[in-house]
């Protein structure tokens, strides 16, 4: 052991001196980095190139500690754009415009402009898989009826960057209203590499997008231009085929087993949609089995809800009433899901993952049907049964509303 000491010291000194001579390679100072929070992709006219926009955050405006620099007058984010054939070279090209080195590891939003989406999105995600910086958990959104760059340039209130605000909106609404779905890159890749199609939510600018670029947008309430999530885009062969809105969108969320919570309004006698049922839990099980060589899908939805609001006199202590409400709920759910499935089938777009289900449980049949799956899907019979329960009625049982005097 004694023999080892001197040579080791010498070796370590040598090693250290190599390092000192050439500098450290991967170390970056935070103040030299521009943190990218959102990326947008559009097609650039007809050149076949991509126009890539990167949204960079100004840290002093969104930091917790506001006493240093920035202050209330700075804009929270800036967007730089470049055009090139691949995403990665567009990133690097932006170094000609951005004052700092771009750092992508915190980018959580990927916006695709609708024109590009109509041309096909399948090839966009390879960079996400290979890169060590880009996150596979980034949410994806389609800029509805506009370019992604315009969407990202809209300033949003409450000191967040546009990308963050879109992502937050999407996260929350997909969980409480469920007419949008929070898709991330991993989901898309899984669907694309199989035989399914992705379903991506859309975000729309309400108001004038150009006016939204000014700080004045933030200085009034409500802001002149705001971004809202709207609808779910369904794809066929990687191209945007149709939009599902409203109840159809919600039905799709049910069918994809992504329903977390929502509110369903039921009729109360003559009053339309007077009762609000909050769905708190829902799970969808899709099973496939073969009948005469054709796949038949059985979808079983089980959901639970609470009675949260009613506009008409109700007495839930009456058991029949509850059962009736449950049936109504089940009916409403079934209708929405059917609408969604029909819409998807009309576009031959399997956004629900039925292909994966087939592959898992009927591998032999799948081998034969794999090639022509979109057509097979369009004609597959789907049986839906919904089991709905209403568990609680909040802190009151009987409503205070008196029945109208005849």
């Amino acid at each position: 052991m004694n023999a080892c000491r001197k040579p080791i010291a010498a070796a370590m000194l040598l090693l250290l001196s190599i390092v000192v001579l050439t500098g450290c390679w991967n170390s970056n100072e935070l103040s030299d980095m521009a943190i990218v929070v959102g990326i947008g992709v559009d097609k650039d006219g007809d050149s076949g190139k991509y126009r890539v926009s990167m949204q960079i955050v100004n840290p002093s405006t969104v930091a917790a500690n506001k006493s240093s620099g920035g202050g209330q007058n700075a804009i929270p984010n800036i967007v730089y754009s470049s055009v090139d054939h691949t995403l990665f070279s567009a990133f690097r090209k932006t170094s000609q415009k951005a004052p700092r080195r771009l750092f992508f590891a915190h980018s959580q939003m990927f916006v695709i402009g609708e024109p590009l989406a109509r041309e096909g999105i399948n090839g966009l995600f390879d960079l996400f898989e290979r890169s060590r910086e880009l996150r596979l958990t980034s949410s994806v959104v389609i800029a509805r009826g506009m370019k992604a760059e315009d969407l990202l340039n809209i300033l949003t209130p409450m000191q967040t960057t546009t990308a963050t605000s879109i992502k937050d909106k999407l996260e929350v609404t997909s969980e409480v209203w469920a007419q949008n779905v929070d898709t991330d890159v991993t989901d898309i890749i899984k669907k694309v590499s199989g035989s399914g199609e992705p379903a991506i939510s859309g975000a729309k600018a309400v108001g004038n997008p150009i006016a939204g670029r000014k700080k004045a947008n933030l200085e009034e309430t409500p802001p002149q231009t705001n971004i809202e999530t709207k609808g779910i885009a369904i794809f066929a062969q990687g191209k945007l085929a149709a939009w599902l809105d409203g109840k159809a969108a919600r039905g799709a969320v049910w069918a994809m087993n992504k329903m977390k919570s929502t509110t369903v309004n039921l009729d109360c006698g003559n009053e339309k949609q007077a009762i609000a049922i909050e769905v708190i839990r829902s799970s969808t099980r899709t099973r496939v089995h073969m009948r005469n060589g054709k796949p038949v899908l059985t979808m079983h939805i089980k959901e639970e809800g609470n009675l949260t609001e009613t506009n008409c006199p109700l007495d839930p202590s009456n058991r029949e009433l509850i059962v009736k409400l449950q049936n109504q709920l089940a009916e409403a759910t079934k209708k929405e899901v059917e609408t969604a499935i029909k819409a998807a089938q009309s576009k031959k777009s399997d956004i629900f993952g039925f292909s994966t289900e087939m592959e898992r449980t009927q591998p032999k049949a799948w081998k034969q049907l794999e090639k022509s799956w979109p057509d097979v899907f369009a004609e597959t019979e789907v049986e839906i049964n919904v089991e709905a329960y209403i568990r609680r009625t909040g802190l009151r049982i009987k409503s205070y509303i008196k029945p109208e005097k005849e």
Binding site: S27, N28, P59, A63, Q108
Partner: protein
């Protein structure tokens, strides 16, 4: 100071020990033999000691024959009352009365056997021993016409009283601490272990200082090969001076080049007693209240004495906290540097934005900033030690709050850095062992360099090298890194990483005794004849 040692079978004579047997064999080391003339002897002694003003010579006459005699002692290190009462008085008055004028020949032997009412006397035959005796605080008595001298133990003088230990404070537990006198220290431990298996071996180390060093262990509990190794090492020390236990630690440790110390030092007698009962060996060094314990392992640095006096559940939780503190104090700055410069993707986005906005105004890279802060902290620490008590508190407040805050606002460092350094500093204080805290302070800087160069990879590889270094250490043959509490198989509780696992103590294993109560003073029935005079125990030494 001389000890009576029970005869040991394998004992090797230690360097410059004192016994009657050794006396006869030793030569004078080039000095003239003791002459028979009293005046010559006294003159020679005075000359040897350089005519020192604190050497007191009292000449007197003994007995009816009026034999001239001289008593030599050093002022200050002797107990004057003992000298006056028990030596001078007994020799001048009582001996004379009892002595038969005809018994001329072996007067010294007669005095030793009948007249000198001192507890410890030796017959000295060469100058080295005489000089050493005088300088140790004995009184040496020369008789005219006799080429030998008697020394009587009159050690005394001003010593610090037993006070609460200043560095290792315990909330619940005894509050006596060691002093600088080795006799007192040994007695403090003896009091706690009244077992006849306790063994004490003296050594004298240092050619100029001739410091007394004593080794104490419990026969049957301590491993023989460790004791033997320790003996060999202590005997083999050739050094000019030994003034504290740190130098001794350096001389007897296994590996020479390591930032980690493989012996524990402690100021508390109860710690020593507990470790002795666990099968370890205590090394007392005269002149310092810090005594050493060997062999030790890495885990023992995380057990404080308090753990012996606290409930095991609480101890388990607290030991975990200590380990966490160790990791924080070692890795916090490095992880911060690595995350900020290499692995920014690891930090949650809001935190990263906050840090980024802080670092906008800081001109230095993270590593330099960390170095500056750590360095400043070390300077503050050093200053805090030497600050007189009155100002000490103010300085720490000034240093921490004002400096840190002002530096942040001036844009020299970022507030996150202040937090990191503060947490590191506080965690290092949570370490029960001062030695370990020192080692950690040193290693932390290297870790920071490794982090600045290669990020987490650097930290990981450096940790591997560090831990493998620790794994190769040993303390007197016992490996330094073990998972279970080390040494004795009959340890009182099963532990893992020092954390007690079982609530009950395993059955106590008394050291092989020749009868009497078990080691450690368990509540076994005392035989009625055992002298348990409680008044004696609590009396001062």
């Amino acid at each position: 100071m001389m000890f009576y040692r029970k005869a040991q079978r394998n004992r090797k004579p230690s360097y410059q020990s004192h016994t009657d047997a050794a006396n006869a064999a030793s030569d004078n080391g080039g000095k003239p033999p003791i002459s028979a003339g009293l005046a010559d002897n006294l003159a020679y002694l005075r000359q040897e000691l350089g005519d020192s003003p604190d050497m007191i010579v009292r000449t007197f006459e003994i007995g009816g024959n009026r034999i001239p005699a001289g008593a030599v002692y050093m002022d200050g290190i002797t107990d004057k009352d003992m000298v006056n009462e028990y030596i001078l008085k007994s020799l001048m008055i009582e001996a004379g009365e009892a002595m038969n004028p005809d018994e001329k020949p072996d007067i010294l032997a007669y005095l030793k056997a009948n007249a000198l009412t001192i507890g410890e006397v030796h017959l000295l035959k060469d100058w080295d021993c005489i000089i050493l005796s005088v300088l140790s605080g004995d009184t040496v008595i020369f008789l005219d016409g006799s080429p030998e001298a008697i020394s009587g133990n009159t050690k005394g003088g001003e010593q610090r009283t037993i006070t609460e230990p200043s560095t290792q404070v315990v909330i619940r537990g005894p509050k006596d601490g060691f002093t600088e006198s080795i006799g007192t220290n040994v007695s403090l431990v003896r009091r706690r272990i009244k077992s006849s298996s306790v063994r004490l071996e003296p050594f004298k180390i240092g050619q100029t200082t001739k410091t007394n060093v004593a080794v104490m262990y419990i026969q049957g509990k301590a491993e023989d090969h460790v004791v033997q190794l320790l003996r060999e090492r202590l005997s083999g020390i050739q050094i000019e001076a030994l003034t504290g236990s740190e130098l001794l630690e350096e001389l007897i440790q296994d590996q020479k080049k390591s930032p980690f110390s493989t012996l524990i030092n402690t100021e508390r007698p109860d710690t020593v007693a507990n470790h002795l009962l666990d099968g370890r060996i205590a090394i007392f060094v005269d002149g310092t209240p810090f005594n050493l314990i060997a062999p030790t392992t890495f885990l023992m640095n995380f057990l404080s004495t308090e753990d012996y006096y606290t409930r095991p559940e609480a101890v388990a939780a607290i030991i975990i906290v200590r380990y966490a503190a160790l990791i924080i104090s070692l890795f916090a700055p490095s992880i911060y540097i690595a995350a900020i410069t290499f692995h920014q993707e690891m930090i949650p986005t809001p935190l990263l934005l906050s840090l980024a906005s802080q670092r906008e105004s800081v001109p230095f890279p993270a590593f330099i900033e960390a170095l500056i802060m750590e360095f400043t902290f070390e300077i503050l620490r050093e200053a805090g030690i030497r600050m007189p008590r009155a100002i000490g508190q103010a300085v720490s407040i000034v240093g921490a709050l004002v400096l840190g805050q002002a530096a942040v606002e001036a844009g020299i460092i970022s507030s996150a850095m202040v937090i990191v350094v503060a947490i590191t500093g506080i965690s290092s204080f949570a370490n029960p062992s001062y030695n370990m805290a020192l080692s950690i302070r040193l290693i932390r800087f290297f870790l920071m360099v490794a982090a600045a160069l290669f990020g987490f990879y650097g930290i990981a590889i450096f940790s591997i090298i560090l831990i493998s270094h620790m794994c190769s250490l040993s303390s007197f043959g016992v490996p330094y890194m073990t998972i279970k509490t080390p040494s004795v198989p009959e340890a009182e509780r099963k532990t893992l990483f020092g954390i007690p696992l079982t609530k009950e103590k395993t059955k106590p294993q008394p050291a092989p005794d020749s009868g009497g109560s078990g080691a450690g003073g368990n509540d076994q029935a005392q035989p009625a004849s055992a002298p348990s005079n409680l008044l004696n125990e609590s009396g001062s030494s």
